[in-house]
């Protein structure tokens, strides 16, 4: 059991989402940085899809009511346990009564608190994620509030945690070569041209070449981009069709919208591109005001990056268990 001691608005319980229900209008939802949730879960000894707390409004404080293994992943800050600075991307054990505090991270947008056993809220349609728009899932279908007390599942037969904890090299460091950033810090986001790309003619090139800024009117549903508007050469009447996170749609104003985790399940605006799935976690960590440029990609490249990410996750899964077992055998 944990108790929320302090929170900003819009911090929610999230897991890897509930794909499979878009055909009845239900967004997949789930963590904006699913890679951080997967790695955090591995470190504490959970299945990769256990539910975590997604924090996007800081500061945030919780109290552990019982001894709990936990990790803070995602953002680049230093979590504090009873005021003592800890490493991010590292599993620790908290004692009953101790307080974990997260302050505004220096650069990134979202931190995840992962608990040994995982957050225990009812599973709805295969997931514990909070569906804010639908008002269901997670903690009573709403963001966390001060005073909320939340159950944590029991972890069956956990391997003991090393005395100094066990950590992972964050993907931004470990996979530096696979996730390039421009020299001036502009995020490079790979995307594959989508159905109406040709309709944008020369403006299509402007879409790829210009640097876009993530507008403050951005949230878990979608990111609105600011820049020189792009317009199709003719307006087409689109019939509503299914969409997925990463789709880049261009509404009449000409400034693109990238659909994110809580993406609407249907759309009708012309779509110019679709961000490759392996780059979505980087968008999930991009704050309003940050700059990005789209890089034209291919299915082959998308596959290659996915495989690099899979190998990284598998390595951490296998090696962390090996390390825990080896240390257990030695003590």
């Amino acid at each position: 059991m944990i108790e929320i001691v302090e929170t900003g608005p819009f911090n929610t319980v999230q897991d890897l989402g509930r794909p499979g229900y878009r055909d009845i209008g239900v967004s997949a939802g789930g963590a904006m940085d699913p890679l951080a949730v997967r790695i955090g879960n591995i470190l504490v000894g959970n299945p990769q899809d256990a539910a975590a707390i997604e924090i996007q409004m800081f500061p945030f404080k919780l109290r552990f009511e019982v001894p709990t293994v936990f990790a803070v992943t995602g953002a680049d800050g230093q979590p504090l346990l009873e005021g003592r600075a800890l490493l991010s991307w590292c599993a620790y054990r908290a004692e009953a009564g101790q307080i974990l505090e997260l302050k505004q991270p220096p650069k990134l947008a979202r931190a995840y608190i992962v608990l040994g056993g995982g957050i225990d809220v009812p599973v709805l349609m295969g997931s514990r994620s909070t569906a804010l728009r639908g008002g269901f899932g997670g903690n009573a279908g709403r963001p966390l509030m001060k005073g909320d007390r939340i159950e944590v599942c029991a972890l069956p037969q956990p391997l003991p945690l090393p005395a100094g904890g066990i950590a992972a090299v964050a993907p931004a460091t470990a996979l530096r070569d696979a996730f390039p950033v421009a020299d001036d810090g502009t995020l490079l986001i790979r995307a594959i041209p989508a159905g109406e790309h040709e309709l944008f003619a020369d403006d299509g090139e402007a879409f790829w070449s210009q640097v876009w800024r993530i507008s403050s009117r951005s949230d878990r549903t979608g990111y609105r981009l600011s820049g020189a508007p792009i317009k199709p050469v003719k307006t087409v009447e689109m019939r509503s069709h299914g969409v997925v996170p990463g789709v880049v749609q261009v509404p009449p104003g000409g400034e693109p919208i990238i659909q994110m985790s809580d993406a609407n399940t249907a759309g009708g605006y012309p779509k110019i591109a679709g961000v490759i799935e392996a780059d979505l976690w980087r968008l999930g960590q991009a704050r309003a005001g940050s700059r990005l440029r789209f890089v034209r990609s291919t299915h082959a490249e998308a596959r290659a990056v996915e495989q690099i990410v899979s190998r990284y996750v598998e390595d951490i899964e296998r090696t962390s268990q090996m390390v825990k077992r080896a240390l257990k055998a030695m003590t």
Partner: protein, 140 residues
């Protein structure tokens, strides 16, 4: 003060024989620049391992040893600009370095409070279990 030359095979052989005769399972000698570990395993003869050289015995200093084999990192891999400052005061729970195995990092806590005086392994070096990484001088 004279020191025993642990790099001399004859010395080690003699020591091993003495240990075996005494029924002792093993011996470990640590110094600021190296470590010697002798393990007598049944039936297979002694296993001898020598890391670095062995210098003068500094009775008061304590070594922080590698808790597992891997790549030694003196600073966190995600930190690029920060440089390590030695000597510095540390408390027992402070993380003084890391062992990296693939993308997994095992933080190495100081284990005791004191003055982190010397680093005994090269950053990036492969270290074995028990290899000395740091020397801590206990302080009152």
């Amino acid at each position: 003060m004279s020191t025993i030359d642990f790099s001399d095979p004859a010395t080690i052989a003699a020591l091993t024989e003495a240990l075996t005769a005494a029924g002792v399972d093993g011996l470990e000698v640590s110094g600021p620049v190296g470590q010697l570990r002798l393990v007598v395993s049944k039936g297979e003869g002694p296993h001898i391992r020598l890391t670095g050289g062995i210098g003068a015995n500094q009775a008061k200093a304590v070594t922080v040893k590698a808790p597992i084999a891997g790549c030694f990192c003196a600073i966190h891999p995600s930190v690029s600009e920060e440089t390590e400052t030695l000597p510095r005061r540390v408390s027992d729970k402070d993380v003084v370095g890391f062992i990296r195995i693939g993308s997994v990092l095992l933080p190495v806590p100081a284990g005791r409070s004191g003055l982190l005086a010397r680093r005994l392994a090269e950053p990036g070096a492969l270290v074995g279990f028990g290899d000395p990484l740091f020397e801590i001088e206990p302080q009152p």
